[in-house]
């Protein structure tokens, strides 16, 4: 199995980089390829089993989009072919049609995988929690962001929300999914926080693997789940 971790030196803010480390521990026999922003992505000429990209700054986001732009067709090919691609934090915004950086007075066209647009305002930071379901898996997560996504994602959302907001404050549908491309605004150690989802994600490659430190990860997950389901806990 081959796992490509994209630009972890600059797209791994808020603990996102540790999702890759956790995957390494879950898949000790897999080959991990860490591609930096100055190198050509491995996926251009190969088909990894899993691709991961995490949270980044706005400037980095613009750089990543320009990096990806020449490979737009290849990215669509991978998505259509069912490659597992996982994007966290503001990485999903890359797959939208347009990002409007309100504070910086800039606008950029995205990869247009989803008919959605993004508004980014550096003076409006949103912090929140996520409790939702992906299929029959309950998912917990944290969000801290300057941007929201707009458009109708109800038919291809990643999560049906139980508590917390969706792609924007009016939405109850969080993230996007197309085949095995999973996009979530949740950031940080999403995989260690969600051992059941981690196992599901890995299973989509045709491999079965137990989440690393499963017992301890499940203990922490259950504790958080009970807190998130407690109506006294603010969202």
């Amino acid at each position: 199995m081959t796992v490509e971790i994209l630009f972890s030196e600059i797209a791994g803010l808020y603990g996102d980089a540790q999702n890759a480390k956790y995957l390494e521990l879950c898949l000790p026999d897999a080959e991990f390829i860490y591609t930096d922003i100055c190198s050509e992505p491995y996926f251009v000429n190969n088909t990894p089993d899993i691709i991961y990209i995490g949270t980044m700054s706005e400037e980095t986001q613009r750089r990543v989009i320009e990096k990806f732009r020449p490979f737009k067709d290849r990215i669509n090919e991978l998505i259509d072919g069912g490659t597992v691609i996982f994007a966290t934090g503001n990485a999903p915004e890359i797959f939208c049609e347009k990002i409007d950086y309100i504070t910086e007075k800039k606008e950029i066209t995205g990869l247009c995988v989803f008919p959605l647009t993004v508004k980014n305002d550096l003076f409006k930071r949103y912090n929140g929690k996520v409790l939702g379901t992906s299929g029959d898996i309950k998912v917990v997560g944290f969000r801290s962001q300057f941007s929201f996504i707009y458009g109708d994602n109800s038919s291809y959302a990643f999560l049906q929300m139980q508590r917390g907001v969706g792609i924007n404050k009016e939405s109850k549908f969080e993230g996007m999914r197309k085949n095995n491309l999973f996009c979530t605004s949740c950031l940080g150690p999403f995989l260690p926080l969600n051992p059941l989802f981690t196992e599901y994600l890995i299973s989509l490659t045709g491999t079965s693997a137990e989440a690393a430190f499963r017992e301890e990860a499940m203990d922490a997950y259950k504790k958080r789940l009970s807190e998130f389901e407690d109506p006294k806990v603010k969202f």
Binding site: K21, S57, S144, P192, D219, V233
Partner: protein, 457 residues
């Protein structure tokens, strides 16, 4: 009309200050809030002290501003400062109005103000500092500070070219701030250069801020603090005007070279972060015209505020309390490193870094744990770690992912019970790492340690 609103705001805020003091309460925030509610540009109407020094950055601003105030005061200066107050807009307003007359004119000639870096855009349009010290810029609270590009953008946008900058020359993010400010001085550290091969756990700058090419490092001390150069353009860490060339840990001294001479000062704490802080203080005070002797007089009588670093003995037990700001991964990692580097064996650590308010009818965001270097806990000198607080399970998982042996770890959700889990015959060197808002817990632990130590006499 604006002026009238200002005088009404000033009067109401001074009244609020008076009433709060009558009630024996702190007047370090609320009066400022009152003033700003009435007059949004209140700060812009105050007649400021002749010299305004602001201190900002991610880590160490409180230490630097406290040291500056303390040394200036010991040398006879009367200083307006917000050491005991808030570092956001209302706190700055509160302290300035306290030290102003009924017309809003400053009563003191010098102000040392610690400024929250995120508040720069609310403060500096009105208070254009004569000097701004920036210790460092690195990742901090996920929720509040976002990332270093954001903080750099805020600080740079807030300054005018009038301000003279005193910047950490070993931090390429900080040293690249506000290019419009041409009057710049740099401080840094040349002593105890680390091995070139030492790789920090995290770096907040990897590519050249000018051309985007990869940066190489001569060496890095921690995070991105060190000496860097661009592989494609002329960009590099700047030469330093104030340079620590020696650290004498045994006798608690450090030597700073500036203006072609070497001067030795008392080192108040040998954590490398505090060596940087102390060097910034030497630079600022020298620029203000104090002699090395005057500066040393202040250093020799200063110490870090007890609430941040303190030691106690109880029977055979020696306990070190080190504040480790939760939600701040770099500060915590520095504390972990500091404890691990102390040349002792069989250490026991109590880690109590969960945020109290974020766990009261809340569930704390734990992303920051994954930006902390928990692999430090694998250090052989650390024999036992007690993770305490509501997030203890998260600490355990984080530590396991970092490769820490599970046998070393004990979980104790109830912080009040952590001390009772210690075998005082087995562990005598104890380190308590506690969050800023867990000072009450630390105080309770002190009492518990006293009792625990009695049996070991």
């Amino acid at each position: 009309m604006k002026k009238l609103r200002f005088f009404i705001a000033l009067f109401m805020a001074k009244l609020a200050t008076f009433l709060l003091k009558m009630l024996g309460r702190n007047a370090t925030y609320m009066p400022g809030e009152v003033a700003l509610k009435i007059s949004k540009d209140f700060l812009g109407h105050l007649k400021l002290p002749e010299t305004v020094i602001c201190v900002t950055g991610t880590n160490g601003k409180t230490t630097v501003s406290n040291l500056l105030t303390s040394i200036l005061t010991k040398n006879g200066y009367d200083v307006t400062n917000n050491s005991f107050g808030s570092n956001v807009q209302a706190g700055i307003a509160a302290v300035l109005l306290q030290d102003s007359d009924i017309f809003g004119r400053a009563k003191k000639k010098i102000a040392v103000l610690e400024v929250d870096e995120r508040s720069s855009l609310l403060i500096h349009p009105y208070i254009k500092p004569d000097y701004l010290i920036v210790n460092n810029i690195m990742r901090d609270s996920v929720k509040r500070n976002a990332h270093t590009d954001f903080i750099s953008y805020i600080i740079t946008s807030a300054l005018t070219e009038k301000t003279k900058l005193i910047l950490n020359g070993d931090d390429l993010i900080t040293s690249s701030l506000a290019p419009q400010c041409k009057n710049r001085m740099y401080f840094g550290l040349d002593a105890e250069k680390p091995e070139v091969s030492d790789k920090p756990f995290l770096r907040d700058i990897v590519y050249c801020p000018d051309c985007g090419a990869p940066l190489e490092s001569e060496y890095l001390r921690y995070n991105h603090i060190g000496r860097m150069y661009c592989t494609a353009c002329e960009k590099k860490s700047p030469d330093r005007d104030y340079l620590v060339t020696a650290i004498d840990r045994e006798n608690s001294f450090f030597t700073v070279d500036f203006k072609g001479e070497s001067h030795t000062f008392t080192l108040i704490n040998d954590n490398i972060v505090n060596v940087y802080n102390s060097c910034a203080v030497v630079a600022m005070l020298t620029i203000l015209g104090l002699s090395p002797e005057q500066i040393e007089k202040g250093f020799s009588q200063s110490k870090i505020v007890k609430s941040r670093f303190d030691t106690m003995s109880a029977g055979k037990l020696k306990i070190t309390f080190q504040m480790s700001k939760g939600q701040n991964p770099i500060a915590c990692t520095r504390c972990f490193n500091y404890v691990a580097s102390i040349p002792k064996e069989n250490k026991l650590l109590i880690v109590s870094t969960d945020d109290i308010s974020d766990n009261t009818n809340e569930s704390e965001n734990v992303c920051w744990l994954y930006d902390c270097d928990y692999s430090i806990f694998s250090d052989e000198s650390i024999a036992k770690i007690i993770f305490t607080g509501p997030r203890c399970r998260d600490h355990l998982l984080r530590a396991l992912i970092a490769g820490v042996n599970k046998e070393k770890i004990v979980l104790c959700e109830d912080t009040d019970k952590a001390v009772s889990l210690i075998d005082p015959e087995k562990y005598t060197d104890i380190y308590v790492l506690y969050d800023l808002y867990r000072q009450e817990d630390a105080a309770k632990m002190r009492v518990q340690f006293k009792k625990l130590g009695e049996g070991t006499k």
